[in-house]
């Protein structure tokens, strides 16, 4: 039986380079932080390069490197090297980036809402809802059953819709305080500060 064919280094590097924008998008959505995401991408590139003899020509470089990035992120989170958090500056940058005019959803709220989800739900909805992966591909990346992936995406969508409709964010996404507040409560609080 023939051994699976590895790519020549130059071709491997080219495919790796083409995957970088997607790695950055995945990493940023997963971590909620631009700088953390770029650190993750750099770790991923180094690991992918070191393990390039294990990449099989003809398979998806993007999916292969996504596995490395998510494994790096989750193992680093356990060691507290990285943390998933909402980054106001990142949200502002996202807002200032060009977007189709018909999209009325506030992207800063969306990024913040994502950070309210559990890690596995956030990963699932990023892969399927944002990255356009099939349930099968996403399940392979996340190392879970297809049914589990479908369930995670479904629960993530419902939770995110509820969060965005109610404007309910917790300290998990804003990085300040312990209280769960709604947008309305925030407004009332601000008014009371001005006119007690």
């Amino acid at each position: 039986m023939n051994r699976p064919q590895a790519l020549p280094p130059s071709q491997f590097k080219q495919q790796l380079t083409e995957a970088i924008p997607h790695l950055r998008a995945f990493g940023r959505s997963l971590s909620g932080d631009r700088d953390v995401a770029d650190d993750l991408v750099q770790d991923t590139l180094l690991k992918a390069w070191a393990a390039r003899d294990r990449f099989i020509a003809g398979t998806s470089m993007r999916a292969w490197t996504f596995v490395i990035l998510r494994n790096t992120f989750f193992s680093s989170m356990r060691r507290k090297k990285f943390s998933a958090n909402y980054d106001e500056l990142v949200a502002e940058r996202i807002l200032s980036a060009p977007a189709p005019q018909q999209d009325p959803l506030h992207l800063a709220d969306l990024q913040r809402g994502l950070m309210e989800l559990s890690d596995d739900q956030r990963e699932a909805i990023i892969l399927v809802g944002a990255g356009g992966y099939s349930y099968e591909e996403a399940a392979e990346i996340a190392n879970c059953a297809v049914g589990t992936m479908k369930s995670r995406v479904s629960r993530a969508r419902k939770a995110l819709e509820t969060i965005l409709e109610e404007g309910r964010f917790t300290s998990a996404s804003d990085g300040h305080g312990d209280m769960t507040t709604t947008a309305l409560e925030n407004i009332i609080g601000a008014v009371e500060k001005i006119a007690p």
Binding site: P9, K13, L16, T17, I20, P21, H22, R24, A25, F26, R28, S29, D38, V41, Q42, D43, L45, L46, K47, A48, W49, A50, A51, R52, R54, W64, V67, I68, N71, T72, S75, I94, A97, P98, A99, P100, Q102, D103, P104, L105, L107, L110, Q111, I125, I126, G129, A130, G131, G132, N143, R157, L160, E161, L164, E165
Partner: protein, 49 residues
């Protein structure tokens, strides 16, 4: 809401794709040629887990 959510997620992702690569990542890519064949296997545990 479902449609807005779907559009918002895709736009969030696409916005990042359009950004130029930062200098430190470009510099890292340049280094990959130099390191070439004698890499340590530091990344192996995160591959195909």
């Amino acid at each position: 809401m479902q449609q807005r959510l779907g559009l918002g997620l895709k736009n969030m992702y696409l916005n990042v794709l359009d950004e130029p690569l930062p200098d430190d990542i470009l510099a890292l890519l340049d280094q990959l040629d130099v390191d070439d064949e004698d890499d340590a296997d530091s990344g192996r545990s995160d591959v195909n887990e």
